[in-house]
Symmetry: C2
Subunit: 437 residues, 2 copies
């Protein structure tokens, strides 16, 4: 059972004793995104040579795209249909897990008409996941890594949504969970995290304090046997976002879209979507052609957008101040990679103000019946802005991500969303309100 | 365009001018559930002869079960795979609608172990629908009927959840919506109803007042061209619940379960699940064998359970007082039919107290990672009670319905769900809390 040894010089770096055989399907190694050095599969996240981030590397199934496509199409209606491309064992669908994914790709013709998109506009609606955000995709991958490494407790630092996703996933998998949140979170988020019966620990401090504490815990015996989904399991966890790319292309009829608009928090999701698209090309599942990836941020937390516009290659941290809480990471770890992808593919990074986010949430709800989390308001708002600026071509096939559910961020729209009229229960009162047929 | 004529002697009864050709797929007529008289398809809900409730009657596709099964399996991952058995046109999947259904049937092994079920326990989890309750199934069918009859406004009376489902469905379909709710609903429910941009009218009065007003409006020119999903479109609307039966059996490998536990509000869902199972047998999609249907109510609104236990054939109305608001119908229209089905199939009707509902919500969350609405607490709680009483056989395959999402009834569990500990951000404080590895 290769767990992180205390002898490691730095917590999170691979140690020599992590060479036991681990079955994570096609994942064959960890590789450093900076220097390319390879390490055996282990619960580790930083390169011993250069401290760069590690990610899963694969023996991809090459040479028989038709067979692979048939295998996927015959698979379950969840992310596990893509098991041949994920760091999970082949029998993953038979294990108890939340089986997220295979959410709707909505042909958004009424939204397209409002935005002037003529080339086909689609919303990938991840509010349909078990706990109603894309987090279920990444956590489900972390659960399988936790099982493979023999971890018995699943953990994370969270501002709320991730805690619920981890609590639910651990419950289904029969793992213990212990998640860490700032002590002053809204009651609703605490309930959503705690209802699954795992331990929920409030930390007296900010989210940054919670994060620092978790890093300490990973290097300490008090946290032995614990898999932190977004820390020591991060290389596996993050791969879950690739499934968004797989599903979008399969749902388009095994075809790459021309343009994608993706929200940026840490930036990990955007980079993994790009990775997923490139894997689909490499395996022959889709025909190669150019695609552009656009990143979307809230103006109140837009370090990547600011860097993109300034032509910088690094991202200067900011202090977040926006209603888009799920995107409010002021120092996004994958920011430089996002800048690189946006520039390489011919995309862009743009941001919208809080009022524009609210407007966009309502626009999407009114035209397509999809009630999005604030992050969905960010992507729809940025799409509108990019079209108006001429940066996004309305004559091309465009996919916009909605990564969460409006039920989780009711406060964003509540002040400006209410009844049309209050009437007495009779026809005269109704006619006076001016709503009659 | 056969709309309800003002000349009709009683609102809601079929009129002679409703004979225009309407394409609702295999639905060929309306038939009276009491006297069996048949009427042409129309926006009507009561028999002219006996005032009994009308329901959709079909020319079912008989004679080629293998062909039908292949056609269904090749269909979309939504209720529209069952278009050949629903009152919808054959091309329904190509129209803009929310495409609900095909939600997960979760093999609930950890819950089974706690309840002592050995024959296979499954939770049909309808929180995965677009607006996170089974209402999307019924509303989607009503939308197609509204289109067929040329209605341009979709409406309903609601205590909250249905209003949101109607608002979302109308937005996607490009229909106007105007829904009626009691004026003093919680803000969250009002937001969920109003965010889709339709008209939301608060009525100064109780839900009964809202209902009465809607009945008035249907017979008045002020409501001309309006489809009330749960009134004049009810015979089509209600059919949507059959898809729960279809999906359960297909997901079990085209096999009938032995026992089902279904919540009772009006009782319509339970009767339609029975109808769906009988249609699967009639079309040869599943092999005939006995099945038992159990009904579940909250003790605070248990008129059907009380009648069942007393051996009555009629249901005496009650005044609801329970946290299970979505089941709080004191005078359930389909109560007598539910009693009949429970007795005919060898099932039962049982109820559980509010504390038992909360316990059951937490049990399901803790064992399976499913956070259920109060109605799901009712079915899980009743399942436990029926097993303890020996009424439900734990050695048989059992399916329990969860019809909604816990996010919508957070208040039910909030008072008893909180953090395990609050600590300072350091290891000593963590160790003192007794949660270390």
């Amino acid at each position: 059972m290769p767990v992180l040894s205390e002898a490691a010089s730095t917590p999170g770096t691979p140690t020599p004793d992590t060479s036991a055989v681990v079955d994570l399907g096609p994942a064959s190694a960890l590789s450093c995104r900076e220097c390319g050095e390879r390490f055996p599969l282990a619960p580790a996240f930083a390169c011993t040579s250069c401290f760069g981030p590690l990610e899963a590397a694969y023996d991809l199934p090459l040479g028989d795209p038709e067979g692979l496509r048939r295998r996927i199409e015959a698979g379950p209606a969840s992310i596990w249909r893509y098991a041949p491309l994920l760091p999970v064992p082949a029998d993953v669908a038979d294990k108890p897990n939340l089986a997220p994914g295979w959410t709707q790709l909505v042909k958004a013709d009424r939204l397209a008409a409002e935005l002037g998109v003529t080339g086909g506009l689609y919303v990938k609606d991840d509010s349909g996941n078990p706990t109603h955000s894309f987090k279920d995709r990444v956590v489900a991958n972390a659960v399988e890594a936790a099982r493979a490494f023999g971890f018995t407790t699943l953990s994370c630092s969270s501002t709320g949504n991730l805690a619920g996703a981890v609590g639910a996933a651990a419950a289904r998998a029969g793992l213990r969970s212990c998640v860490f949140i700032p002590h002053d979170l809204e009651q609703g988020k605490v309930v959503m995290a705690a209802v699954y019966g795992g331990d929920v620990v409030g930390i007296e401090g900010t989210y940054d304090d919670v994060n620092r504490f978790c890093s300490e815990l990973i290097g300490d015996p008090a946290g032995e046997g614990w898999g932190f989904v977004n820390v020591n399991l991060r290389p596996y966890y993050a791969e879950g976002s690739k499934t968004l790319a797989y599903e979008i292309c399969e749902q388009l009829g095994w075809r790459l879209p021309d343009q994608l608009v993706v929200p940026i928090a840490s930036g990990s999701q955007l980079t993994k979507i790009d990775k997923g698209l490139r894997e689909l090309i490499a395996t022959g599942l889709v025909e190669e052609k150019p695609y552009k990836i656009f990143g979307a941020q809230a103006a109140g937390c837009s370090p990547v957008s600011q860097a993109f516009k300034a032509g910088h290659e690094v991202v200067r941290p900011v202090r977040p101040d926006t209603i888009a809480k799920s995107l409010a990471i002021g120092n996004p770890a994958d920011g430089p990679y996002v800048l690189d992808i946006a520039r390489r593919t011919g995309g862009a990074v743009e941001d919208v103000s809080d009022p524009e986010i609210v407007d966009a949430i309502k626009l999407l709800a009114r035209t397509e019946g999809i009630f999005a989390e604030t992050a969905g308001g960010v992507t729809v708002g940025v799409t509108r802005k990019l079209i108006e600026a001429g940066a996004l071509d309305p004559s091309l096939t465009t996919v916009v991500l909605n990564t969460g559910d409006g039920l989780k961020t009711l406060d964003a729209v509540a002040p400006t969303t209410g009844p049309t009229a209050i009437i007495r229960p009779n026809l005269d009162s109704f006619r006076e309100a001016g709503l009659a047929s």
